[in-house]
Assembly symmetry: C2
Homo-oligomer: 446 residues x 2
């Protein structure tokens, strides 16, 4: 038989311990921040009926990017391409039992059939965090501030990212009242603006003129340009500034400022691709010119719970992604050096494996994470294996060491080596752990 490929399925990643540490660091940071703000974790199935996505997620996502198939019982199902419909379904199913505001989060994997590229994989991980049951700008301000606090917790400073904000109701007003577009034209214009950064200027103008129709194109293009060039709400035409949606947005900006979020800006062209948004939309962008990408986004979607046979619930949510977060941390040099979760590797000299296992057991009783090399190989191979795994300490155990109860204890980073008692080993390991935890929290609480 010819051998099977050892490569993962196209567009997916294997997470070996070194990569998994990074993933876990990001997951743990997400979890710590959202739990500090009272968000509770939930989980949803990896499969959903396809119709859950065709209803409101938009044609591209449901029709073209979804991994869908017919199960052995003739049900048409999809591997979840996003979490929003699942959590909306779950809230609908227990609408009466839940306490509101319901603050819910999950960390889960998703699949979309896309061309894999830097920062985009077919299987990807997201934090999804949503607040259910609050109308008005306090909810949006909470979710956006939470996004900013997550960035802060990773050590990002405010100049490293910008939060762009828009509002679907304001977009509707601008498209219909200010640009005079009908429903079909508005929808086309939203799709065009959503693609704006992916096509060149000329192509953008050509398509915009086509949407406006040639009679009014000149005047309409001027108005569109004015919207595109607006750098704050104050740059908008006066009548737009007086709309209800614009007043709502001003409330939001005021709340964000009072929460210390100083890097939020208005962006009239921000659309967000998904069909279900009903109010505020936002997107966080890296300001690094080398990595000038959207990091994550979210917004208000008040209609989704109502699709599942329950009364609608006001909802705001967002979904930071693992891969974009990792690229951001790398490009800003914010990713810490992460060593193995194993703290001690015991190298076995002589034929003393049972003695080594006994020492390991005593160390574990003190809470030390320890492995023993039970392979019976030569000492140099054992040492190399511990170093390969990024385990911070080595203990050497042979007959003499067990008899004297004093053990050579080597720091694999500094290569420093001392002969220590059991108690000293335990306290050295714990000192290192405490220092690590302090470093992690120092970033967070400064």
């Amino acid at each position: 038989m010819s051998s099977l490929s050892s490569q993962p399925y196209k567009g997916t990643r294997d997470y070996y311990p070194a990569e998994k540490r990074i993933q876990n660091y990001i997951f743990a940071t997400w979890r710590r921040v959202v739990q500090l703000h009272g968000y509770e974790e939930y989980g949803a199935p990896m499969l959903e009926p396809l119709e859950v996505y065709t209803a409101k997620s938009g044609q591209e996502l449901a029709g073209e990017q979804t991994y869908m198939f017919t199960d052995r019982g003739d049900r048409v199902v999809a591997i979840r391409p996003e979490m929003t419909p699942s959590i909306s379904r779950m809230v609908a199913a227990r609408r009466q039992e839940l306490g509101y505001p319901a603050r819910l989060f999950s960390i889960a994997n998703f699949m979309r059939y896309e061309r894999p590229q830097r920062g985009r994989e077919r299987e990807f991980w997201q934090l999804n965090t949503d607040i259910f049951g609050v109308e008005g700008a306090l909810a949006e301000a909470e979710i956006i501030s939470l996004g900013a606090e997550i960035m802060d917790a990773f050590g990002a400073t405010k100049d490293m990212y910008t939060i762009r904000i828009n509002n679907r109701k304001l977009i509707d007003y601008m498209l219909s009242q200010y640009l005079g577009l009908d429903g079909v034209q508005s929808h086309m214009m939203m799709k065009l603006l959503d693609r704006k950064d992916k096509i060149d200027r000329e192509e953008f103008t050509r398509q915009a003129v086509e949407i406006f129709g040639t009679e009014v194109a000149n005047e309409s293009m001027k108005r569109l340009e004015r919207l595109l060039s607006a750098r704050s709400m104050a740059d908008l035409p006066a009548d737009i500034q007086q709309s209800a949606a614009a007043l709502e947005m001003r409330d939001l900006f005021a709340l964000l400022l009072s929460a210390g979020v100083t890097n939020a800006v208005f962006d009239a062209t921000l659309m967000r691709g998904l069909d279900y948004y009903t109010g505020t939309v936002f997107e966080v962008f890296d300001t690094d010119p080398e990595n000038n990408r959207s990091l994550f986004g979210g917004g208000r979607y008040d209609g989704l719970v109502g699709l599942f046979g329950a009364d609608p619930i006001a909802t705001v949510g967002m979904a930071p992604g693992l891969t974009t977060t990792e690229l951001f941390l790398r490009s800003h040099n914010l990713l810490p050096e992460l060593m193995s979760t194993t703290e001690v590797g015991i190298v076995v000299i002589d034929n003393t494996v049972l003695g080594a296992l006994d020492l390991a057991k005593r160390l574990r009783n003190e809470g030390v994470r320890v492995e023993v090399d039970i392979s019976g190989r030569k000492i140099d191979k054992q040492i190399k294996a511990v170093i390969k795994k990024n385990v911070p300490f080595i203990i050497f155990v042979g007959e003499n060491e067990l008899a004297a109860q004093m053990y050579p204890f080597k720091d694999t980073v500094t290569t420093n080596e001392e002969v220590l008692s059991f108690e000293r080993i335990v306290s050295n390991v714990k000192d290192r752990r405490r220092k690590d935890e302090d470093d992690e929290f120092a970033e967070f609480f400064d």
Copy 2:
């Protein structure tokens, strides 16, 4: 439009915060124990090429139970029904780079198309924990002891479960040398023994006689009965006891005893369904007559890495499941009361939400996990919501409280209420957290 169903896909579960807490408690216990033993976490894709499973997992799993489909690029893929082939593939891909013994674990979800029933869901979660690169009984003893330590960490005592052990090489010897079966007959007998507890005695005898053939059935059935009635290695016929496989098993039992695993027994009929096992196999059974089920199992599978174009590596692994663990904990009354991860809910009296948000921010700076009710609803509704969510404490914040900087602080479990300063609130919350952590670790380190 008629509304969409709010129910999850057949055979899958929604994990609301109350259920997710239980899942997280089990995951955290698994993670703590295996990390104490030096196992490092990895992650693998949810999809694999189907051929990864057809090679060695057995016809039932790969052919009948797998969620398989053809992707948009004409690749035949499967949602992983188990982890063993994925981690074997990963180890093969980095055979040279990894340090050995490689101790690896993952906590992940899987799907199998089976009829859902108590303790069996189509989507299910498992801990997979494997040691690569060690031949001989020390590796088996480590994995089996690890299984026992996981049970201990959940508070199980040795009388609550039994570990049944057998060995594929011993099975081969018994079937070919002692029962005189050829290759085809041996395979049929293994499948029959694997189903033994699912069919009645008469049916079992009928099928066994059919495998033996009528001429030798009488004598062969007597020999088979002798194997079935063996309660320890010593009950086996003398020539079997002298086989190399039997000597290997005796080593294993000795190591287990010295590691304090006193509830491991020999079971000549234990087969384990999967085709890839090559040596020791084991299975942990609940001793409760009400819940007398297999909790999890594992064994040695030295050939799997070699399927992926690398030299074979000696491997032993096991995979405890979430659902069976939860049923075990429930049936033995071992599941702790779990409250929300949110420690404080702030109820907003008067129109003081900005003051409440500021207090929340100060509490978070001290590490307290806190939510604020920003819904503007009546106080009794706010209180009910906090209690529904199982949040342990409520702080009431109104104008007077903010002015005096003294806050009514209510314990939602005892219903005790005091008026406390900020500092006293922080220390009360932390006392409770410390007590919780002590309770959790007390079980583990006794």
